[in-house]
């Protein structure tokens, strides 16, 4: 039987080959650095795991129902933090999103500044912002609101700017040709095109914020996180089980509702 010959492969350029080899070598170097550098006390981890496994895991799955009242109150506070924070962010992100959109200003410089501001905000983890705001306004839920508001502005601003960049500019140009002024172009040409997607992204960000605000209490910024850190410090794992259950239920419900609303809007 004759061997089947495959069609000849396209020859790769020398540059591409070298680039591929370099990336490969860099990855190998990073892995060598990682596995030499990391030091884990395996013996202790295994020993701890064996002695703790039978204690912690069963308690996590048998929630302590007596704490239901407090957990409910705190999870509601978490949702409030997330809502107030994402509401503020959804408004703060509008000017930044317009600033960062390429098609809204003639100078590339301005849109680059907007993009830099937004990626700088995004580089801060939410909880680091929470640390800063806890020092600023004290250990309470409002510090969490501020942290969520600033943290979400980074991502929402970026998404908003992408929405603005994707609008149909012919509508705006036609208005300009007909003698509309800047304000009219904005209100009748741009805004009707972006509203549904802006709303949809704001709601989507609220989903993420519920998750994010549930841990802010670890640094003192209110919500269920405060209980998480207390339960862990007191080794009260059955209360932790209830907290976990509450987070899972609330996040699932909010994800479900938000997905339905978003499907309706867009």
């Amino acid at each position: 039987m004759e061997s089947i010959s495959l069609p000849p492969k396209q020859p790769k350029s020398a540059f591409k080959k070298i680039k591929g080899i370099l990336i490969f070598l860099a990855v190998i170097a990073i892995y060598i650095w990682t596995f030499i550098g990391i030091d884990i006390d395996w013996a202790r981890a295994v020993e701890r795991a064996i002695s703790n496994f039978g204690v912690i895991i069963p308690r996590l799955f048998s929630p302590d129902w007596s704490a239901t009242g407090e957990v409910t109150l705190k999870i509601i506070e978490t949702v409030f933090i997330a809502f107030a924070g994402s509401f503020m962010a959804s408004i703060l992100a509008i000017p930044l999103g317009f600033l960062a959109a390429k098609n809204m200003s003639r100078s590339k410089f301005l849109s680059n500044i907007g993009k830099w501001i937004l990626s700088a905000i995004r580089a801060f983890p939410d909880i680091i912002l929470a640390i800063l705001f806890v020092v600023a306004v004290g250990p309470n839920a409002f510090a969490g609101v501020l942290a969520i508001a600033i943290g979400s502005t980074g991502m929402l601003g970026k998404l908003y700017s992408e929405v603005v960049e994707s609008i149909d500019m012919r509508v705006v140009e036609a208005m300009e040709a007909n003698g509309a002024n800047k304000i009219q172009m904005l209100f009748y040409g741009v805004i009707p095109q972006i509203i549904p997607e802006f709303l949809s992204y704001a709601i989507y960000r609220f989903e993420i914020d519920v998750r994010a605000s549930s841990i802010l209490g670890i640094v003192g910024a209110g919500g269920i996180g405060t209980m998480i850190i207390f339960a862990a410090n007191n080794r009260n794992w059955s209360e932790m089980g209830l907290i976990l259950l509450a987070i899972i239920i609330v996040v699932t419900i909010i994800d479900f509702i938000s997905a339905r609303i978003r499907r309706k809007i867009v």
Binding site: F35, I38, I40, R48, N52, P125, I218, I228, A232, L244
Partner: protein, 272 residues
């Protein structure tokens, strides 16, 4: 709000664009959302000493506390920072390996056994609702303070995201070549390797890099709950109220996250 403005102007000349019912609906939604917002603001501020105004007059005092940052600590925290990055690298690698079977199991077009596919999906969905730091708290309780619980928490957390993204990619592949292979006698392994892998690989690499970015950002704060890395140092300095040091560490984290994100973004752009 805009639609309302639109309407009030056009009312004078032309019939309204939107029916009255829609307008009533929109106004109700707006009022409910605003009311909920105001109530949330009230609720979250009720335990604040001095209220809103006092807090904002405090901000300047705080700026004085944090600045100037004590940049000389950066040489001292270099080691934990490196460990943080190593943590993220190891976690991402293991998650990328473990995600392959999970993604295959939760892809509707590969797993023909329905209960299996639904179970994997549900487990992954539940996993994704738990924030990374909560996982870290539990694993620190389980394994003790150190890098290891952090790595495990990151693996579990990124598995949830990665498996979902990749199973969705697998579900959107072109099934024709796979069916052709099956028809001409390819085994399951062969079909996956020669039909599925080439179609999914670029997306897979891109998603792994994306999750790596998420892991870097998560790993810098894991130490706050005792799971190793730079967060541990940050937590200590916070407890000593040594704010110039805290600010220096925050700036270091900021710079490292920005650099890694930039590199990863460039790589992802090159991939797709």
């Amino acid at each position: 709000m805009v639609t309302k403005q639109l309407n009030s102007k056009s009312l004078q000349k032309t019939p309204p664009i939107y029916p009255v019912k829609t307008k009533v609906q929109l106004t109700t939604i707006l009022i409910v959302v605003l009311g909920f917002y105001l109530f949330s603001m009230f609720w979250t501020q009720q335990k604040m000493v001095g209220g809103f105004g006092n807090a904002f007059s405090n901000v300047l005092v705080v700026v004085e506390k944090f600045f100037p940052p004590n940049m000389s600590v950066i040489t001292a925290v270099w080691d934990p920072m490196a460990q943080t990055i190593q943590m993220a690298i190891i976690a991402t690698t293991f998650a990328a390996i473990l995600t392959v079977p999970l993604a295959l199991l939760s892809a509707q077009n590969i797993t023909s056994i329905k209960p299996l596919y639904i179970t994997t999906r549900t487990v992954l969905n539940i996993l994704r609702t738990i924030p990374d730091l909560v996982l870290a708290v539990i694993f620190v309780g389980l394994f003790g303070v150190g890098l290891f619980p952090g790595i495990v928490a990151l693996i579990i957390f990124s598995l949830g995201i990665l498996a979902k993204l990749i199973s969705e990619t697998i579900e959107s592949v072109d099934m024709d070549p796979l069916e052709a292979m099956r028809a001409s006698g390819g085994s399951v392994i062969q079909v996956i390797f020669y039909g599925l892998v080439p179609q999914v690989l670029p997306q897979f690499t891109s998603f792994v890099l994306y999750v790596f970015e998420i892991n870097i950002r998560a790993s810098v704060v894991l130490g706050l709950v005792g799971a190793g890395g730079i967060g541990l140092v940050l937590d200590q300095q916070l407890k000593f109220y040594n704010y110039p040091n805290v600010m220096a560490i925050i700036i270091l984290i900021f710079v490292v996250v920005l650099i890694i994100e930039y590199i990863s973004n460039k790589l992802r752009e090159a991939l797709i």
